[in-house]
């Protein structure tokens, strides 16, 4: 009886440890994936913001007295 109980307890503990390890491994993998994904999205977002800011800085250069529109309309070739 005691042996059976010990065997069952040992088996349960081993399975619990394996489960914990498996879920921990997957959790860490998901966290890494999520972190990379977020980082990539953030970088793209920042790049877009920079491109918009660059366009507006160029548009701000337009002088109402000089009518220098060519300077204000800056084409960014990298935007497709």
């Amino acid at each position: 009886m005691v042996d059976s109980f010990r065997w069952i307890s040992a088996l349960v503990i081993v399975i619990l440890v394996l489960l914990w390890w498996y879920f921990r491994y997957h959790q860490q993998r998901n966290k890494r994936r999520h972190s990379h994904q977020c980082e990539r999205l953030q970088k793209t977002l920042i790049l877009q913001r920079k491109q918009i800011a660059k366009r507006h800085i160029a548009l701000d250069r337009y002088d109402f007295l000089q009518y220098n529109l060519e300077d204000a309309l800056l084409v960014q070739q990298e935007i497709k």
Binding site: I8, L11, I15, L19, K31, L45, L65, E70, L73, V75
Partner: protein, 625 residues
């Protein structure tokens, strides 16, 4: 604390009665009867202490031992063994093993009995209990003797002598018993010298006349001396034995000793005396009903009568001997049958015990399986619970991550679309400017060429060409402003303020005799943001108004004032110049343009001027339109 000593006495008496009650009740269970169960149940009710329980179990053990209920006896014996083992009571443990051995010996299971006796020896050795140890060794010796294995019987009896120190009080008694056993075994091996040697050793421990404990030894010695041929000593010990057993009134022993004495006298040639002893032997044999003894008596009578030449009496004795032998044969046969029956019953009981044990084992197995199922179910439930929790936690984390990723993706998609649209608009604007701007410039250039190509051109035509050229230039500037406003989307108040300041500064540098004022009332919300079209129109109106003042008013002061009231912005451009009559003077292109721009931004433009009183232009427009 007890005030009245009588209470204490009564209490002790009651307690004593209680203990006495259990023993009395248990005593009444034997011999086994229909009332035994009742006495046991009554005794059970009186169990108060651990000691009572042991007493009760011992009583049950005695009962089952008597009724030969082996299975029940085993159960009770196991309980007692458990008690004694847990209490480390090795003396009681040795006694318990010995009791079980005795029961098994009694039922003819000598092998199992010897095994129990050995356990008894082991338990006794742990506490150096030589009395218990020797008792067990003697029992082992006795079992071997009953097996007719006399060498082993002698070996274990001698072991008692060899392993016992002479320091404990019961030493001499144990030595007497051990030497008796050895002597008896040698007697069975028909070795009278060795028999007598060990019997003499018995007498060395206990003087023959001092104790009745060695009566049997003395009786046996008489026979042994007869076998050894020492008639006088044989007579002497036979007589001692007769005297002792007469005192003890042991009729069986007296029958044996009278027959032994008869044998001794026959060998000695004292036939009459021998016959008298044999007659006495017959008397005690009749009382004990020990039929086998007749065989010895009639055989001895036959020998005596034959030696006397009394053949008739010898024949009669021979006939009696034959009859008794036949009878004995029947008795032996019956005994053999009884033994067989006993063995059969024992075997059957053993089978029953085995079956019960198998049933018990099966039940234990079932219980074990049930427990395993329960433990297993609990373990499984725990695992499922933990698994569910871990899955829930993982899913929750995934949802959170997905939510955050989706927010970022949505924001990115929005800004990306915005960026692409802006870029696309900007490229189209650039193309528009490049193409139409180039075409308009070409028109201006062509008009200039035309103007210089025709020398004799009339002034009216020349003015007309200049007008077209000026209009085209204005169109280019309008186009540039429109394209810019289309791309810029909005302009802050601060930006517009800076641009107006820059413009006024340049005007001030161009007209150093004129004072310029640019005032923004504190009520104006400087954090306001214009649409780029609105901002552009406001700027162009101010520019046009200031330029007109510079060109036509001859003013010394020109001021631009911003104020805000009721969500409306008001811009006032005023000068202290010569003014004009608004009723008589036609509105030129400039004024018309200003009014058109005011309408575009949902506002109104009012011109107030009088000759020599200066001019004031007021632009009023809603902040949100």
């Amino acid at each position: 604390m007890i005030r009245n000593p009588y209470f204490l006495l009564v209490f002790l008496c009651c307690f004593g009665m209680q203990a006495q009650d259990i023993n009395d009740l248990l005593d009444k269970t034997l011999p086994p009867s229909d009332s035994s169960a009742y006495y046991f149940s009554e005794a059970k009710k009186r169990i108060k202490t651990e000691e009572d329980r042991i007493t009760f179990l011992k009583g049950k053990q005695s009962y089952f031992s008597t009724t030969l209920a082996r299975d029940s006896l085993d159960v009770v014996a196991d309980q007692l063994l458990t008690f004694f083992s847990e209490a480390n009571n090795f003396k009681a443990l040795s006694g318990q093993y010995h009791a079980m051995g005795y029961y098994l010996e009694k039922t003819g299971l000598y092998d199992e009995a010897i095994a129990q006796y050995f356990k008894s020896v082991e338990a006794a050795k742990k506490i150096d209990d030589y009395v218990a140890m020797n008792r067990a060794y003697r029992s082992i010796s006795q079992c071997h003797r009953l097996f007719h294995d006399y060498e082993e019987a002698i070996f274990y009896a001698k072991k008692t002598i060899a392993e016992s120190p002479n320091t404990y009080p019961e030493y001499e008694k144990d030595m007497v018993d051990a030497n008796n056993l050895i002597g008896a075994a040698f007697s069975e091996l028909n070795k009278p010298d060795s028999t007598l040697f060990y019997y003499e050793r018995v007498l060395s421990y206990v003087p023959p006349l001092d104790s009745i404990d060695i009566a049997a030894t003395l009786g046996n010695m008489g026979y042994a001396y007869l076998l050894a041929g020492d008639i006088s000593k044989s007579r002497q010990y036979n007589q001692i034995g007769l005297d002792l057993y007469s005192k003890l009134n042991n009729e069986y022993a007296l029958a044996v000793l009278y027959v032994n004495s008869g044998m001794t006298e026959n060998v000695a040639g004292e036939y009459q005396r021998a016959l008298r002893y044999l007659d006495s032997g017959v008397v005690y044999t009749e009382r004990t009903n020990y039929v086998e003894m007749y065989k010895w008596i009639y055989d001895e009578e036959y020998k005596i009568f034959k030696a006397q030449g009394n053949y008739r009496a010898a024949m009669e004795s021979l006939d009696k001997l034959r009859v008794i032998k036949d009878s004995l044969f029947e008795v032996e046969r019956a005994r053999a049958a009884k033994e067989l029956e006993t063995q059969y019953e024992t075997a059957e009981k053993e089978t029953q015990i085995l079956q019960q044990r198998a049933q018990l084992t099966e039940k234990e197995l079932e219980v074990r399986q049930k427990n395993i199922i329960i433990f297993g179910s609990l373990g499984l439930a725990l695992l499922l619970g933990v698994l569910g929790y871990l899955l829930y936690k993982q899913q929750k984390l995934k949802n959170r991550q997905l939510q955050k990723e989706n927010q970022l993706k949505t924001a990115l998609a929005k800004i990306e679309t915005q960026n692409k649209l802006q870029e696309q608009r900007l490229r189209i604007s650039r193309d528009l400017h490049d193409n139409i701007g180039a075409q308009l410039t070409f028109i201006i250039s062509s008009l200039d060429n035309l103007k210089y190509g025709f020398k004799d051109m009339s002034d009216a035509l020349k003015d007309r060409l200049v007008g077209i050229s000026t209009f085209t230039s204005a169109t280019i500037y309008e186009l540039r402003d429109t394209i810019w406003a289309m791309n810029k989307e909005e302009i802050t108040f601060e930006d517009l303020q800076a641009r107006i300041t820059n413009f006024i500064e340049k005007a001030r540098n161009a007209a150093i005799n004129i004072d310029f004022e640019f005032v923004i009332a504190p009520t104006v919300d400087t954090h306001y943001t214009f649409s780029s079209v609105k901002g552009m129109n406001v700027y162009r109106i101010i520019q046009e108004a200031v330029n007109n003042a510079l060109k036509y008013s001859g003013a010394t002061t020109i001021s631009v004032r911003f104020s805000e009231a009721n969500e409306h912005l008001t811009i006032e451009i005023s000068d202290n110049g010569k003014g004009f009559d608004t009723a008589t003077v036609d509105s030129g292109n400039g004024l018309l343009n200003m009014k058109k721009r005011a309408r575009e931004i949902g506002g109104t433009l009012e011109i107030a001027s009088e000759e020599t009183q200066g001019t004031t232009i007021v632009l009023n427009f809603p902040k949100h339109s």
